[in-house]
């Protein structure tokens, strides 16, 4: 059922310590795209030193997200329910 890619998982477990050198160029471009989106929205609140930390955190989240891609899901695999219709007694 699972095809957990342990390499990816281990990398994500390294959290904020993951170094830029470990990113592929396409991952790196994706991190830059996402950082640009954050800066576009919140730039007045984030200085250049802080943007470096935001970049690291984006990188960590992106790697966690990629790690989840190692789990095989089929079309019918629904997300954990976050919406329920209230049952009303008539």
């Amino acid at each position: 059922m699972l095809s957990s890619k342990r390499g990816l998982r281990k990398r994500a477990e390294q959290g904020d310590r993951v170094r830029e050198a470990e990113l592929t160029s396409s991952e790196d471009r994706e991190v830059e795209r996402r950082l640009a989106a954050v800066m576009h929205r919140f730039e007045p609140n984030i200085n250049s030193e802080q943007s470096r930390i935001v970049r690291q955190r984006i990188q960590t989240l992106l790697q966690s997200s990629q790690c989840l891609r190692a789990i095989l899901l089929s079309n019918g695999d629904e997300p954990s329910p976050i919406f329920m219709v209230e049952q009303k007694v008539q």
């Binding site: 477990e13 959290g15 954050v38 930390i53 955190r57 989240l61 966690s64 954990s80 329920m84």
Partner: protein, 467 residues
């Protein structure tokens, strides 16, 4: 100052209840005792946000009159308690531990507070917490406008997070019990670090109405108290369906109903990650297993292979960014205490809807596998944490590495499973260690029964700090 002896400060809810009914003390005397201790010891530990003295005296006087008139609301009648400062309470500010929100009033009372009021309990204080329940990714103890929460066993150590004011206050004899919250680890961690008993109930057991939302699909409220029996008493008072919290179910819960199964308890032992634990944590856990093995059948297990940490991280961060969006838009996050919290949440805005939903789909598989595993056992036992509390002057990453939660903590919180931590000894720097028991969903009373049995044979929960 109160004239009651110090030993009363460490009495259980049952013992205090007996004293009230025997007439050897009154609710007003108890409220004064615990307010005195909060004002001195509690404040010195940075555990207190505000002492609700006026409300406490009103509630205590009513409880005293009722008990004298033979009106008995049950085991919490006249018992003082504290609440993590993310629970709304009429008449006093609710800060969520965050400097920019320190004067904000939220009304009415949260459902848990209202239910404790109905049970006759007396609210004496709003207690400190990591700002925004740690939702911005704090990395060191000084992450609240009340200052770093100090551990009563060693004031150079942290009290844990995020429900640190409640855990430290219970451990220091400043309250008999308190209400904390857990998204991932925020009851089990501080209760374990402070050597008290903390119960994180099944998701949906206790209404979160009036509590700060950090991650709607992960947030739970639960008691921190002297022992498992007291945790059960408090849970019984606050549990139950609430139309204001659509996640709650009308699942019956009685604190003392669960008895040992006729075939005895069957517990799964998880040693995963033990090799990276401190020696004392490992040794105390092995000693706990020896106690458990005298009346439970123990079997070693491994968790199913899933990216628990990563799944938790995506869901938690995405929901926190949405729940706290107003603080980002207003720029108020820049006023938070911990520098890393001022920028910690921005990255979460880059999680896509597809990524979030993928995490929720993986979560469904985790829920199914954890249920399949736990259907065979009364609980999984594991150390509550693999290291004792960190020094106050050290970052968490430097102390314990980059991974914030254990696999079991992530798995149990993703699946909404009930968990309890019980103290099991001491480790480095005179700091407590703990064992946790994780149960199948809705088996809160079963894990309480296991914990009660363990605490009948051990006295770690009766150890108290000297000061």
């Amino acid at each position: 100052m109160s004239q009651l002896p110090r030993s009363i400060a460490f009495a259980s809810i049952r013992e205090l209840g007996s004293m009230l009914r025997e007439g050897t003390t009154t609710p007003v005397e108890l409220a004064r005792l615990f307010i005195d201790r909060l004002d001195t010891i509690g404040r010195s530990l940075n555990a207190v946000v505000v002492i609700t003295a006026d409300r406490a005296m009103r509630e205590a006087e009513v409880a005293g009159h009722e008990l004298a008139a033979g009106i008995d609301r049950g085991p919490l009648h006249g018992i003082p308690y504290g609440a993590k400062d993310l629970l709304a309470t009429t008449g006093s500010p609710t800060s969520w531990g965050a400097a920019p929100l320190r004067d904000r009033l939220i009304e009415p009372d949260a459902t848990a507070i209202a239910r404790l009021h109905t049970a006759g309990a007396v609210l004496v204080a709003k207690l400190a917490m990591a700002e925004l329940a740690g939702g911005m990714g704090y990395n060191q103890p000084n992450a609240s406008f009340t200052g770093p929460a100090k551990n009563p066993w060693n004031e150079n150590a942290w009290a844990g997070g995020s429900s640190n004011g409640v855990a430290a206050s219970v451990a220091a004899g400043c309250i008999p019990f308190g209400i904390g919250s857990e998204t991932v680890g925020s009851i089990i961690n501080p209760a374990g670090y402070c050597g008290v008993t903390g119960l994180c109930p099944t998701y949906g057991r206790v209404s979160r109405y009036g509590a700060m939302a950090l991650a709607w699909t992960l947030d739970k409220l639960g008691p921190i108290a002297r022992d498992a029996t007291d945790c059960g008493i408090v849970l019984e008072a606050i549990a139950g369906r609430d139309p204001c919290d659509p996640a709650t179910l009308d699942a019956p819960f009685q604190s003392v109903a669960e008895r040992e199964p006729s075939s005895g308890f069957r517990l799964a032992v998880l040693r995963q990650g033990l090799d990276s634990s401190q020696t004392e944590v490992r040794d105390n856990f092995e000693r706990s297993l020896l106690v458990l093995s005298t009346w439970a059948k123990l079997e070693e297990i491994e968790l199913p292979d899933f990216p628990y940490y990563e799944t938790t991280q995506i869901i938690n961060r995405a929901e926190a960014a949405a729940a706290l969006e107003e603080l980002f838009i207003s720029g108020q996050v820049q006023e938070l205490t911990a520098p890393e919290d001022r920028i910690g949440g921005y990255a979460s805005y880059t999680i896509t809807a597809v990524e979030y939903l993928r995490a929720q789909r993986v979560r469904m598989k985790i829920i199914a596998e954890m249920d399949r595993l736990l259907a065979q056992y009364d609980g999984i036992v594991h150390p509550s944490f693999n290291m004792v509390a960190s020094p106050l002057n050290m970052t968490f990453e430097d102390y314990r590495g980059p991974t914030r939660w254990t696999a079991l903590a992530s798995a149990a919180n993703l699946a909404g499973l009930p968990m309890i931590t019980v103290p099991n000894g001491f480790g480095q720097r005179n700091l407590p260690t703990g064992t946790q028991i994780v149960g199948r969903a809705w088996s809160d009373s079963r894990i309480l029964a296991v914990a009660r049995r363990y605490q009948r044979q051990t006295d770690w929960h009766e150890c108290h700090p000297r000061s």
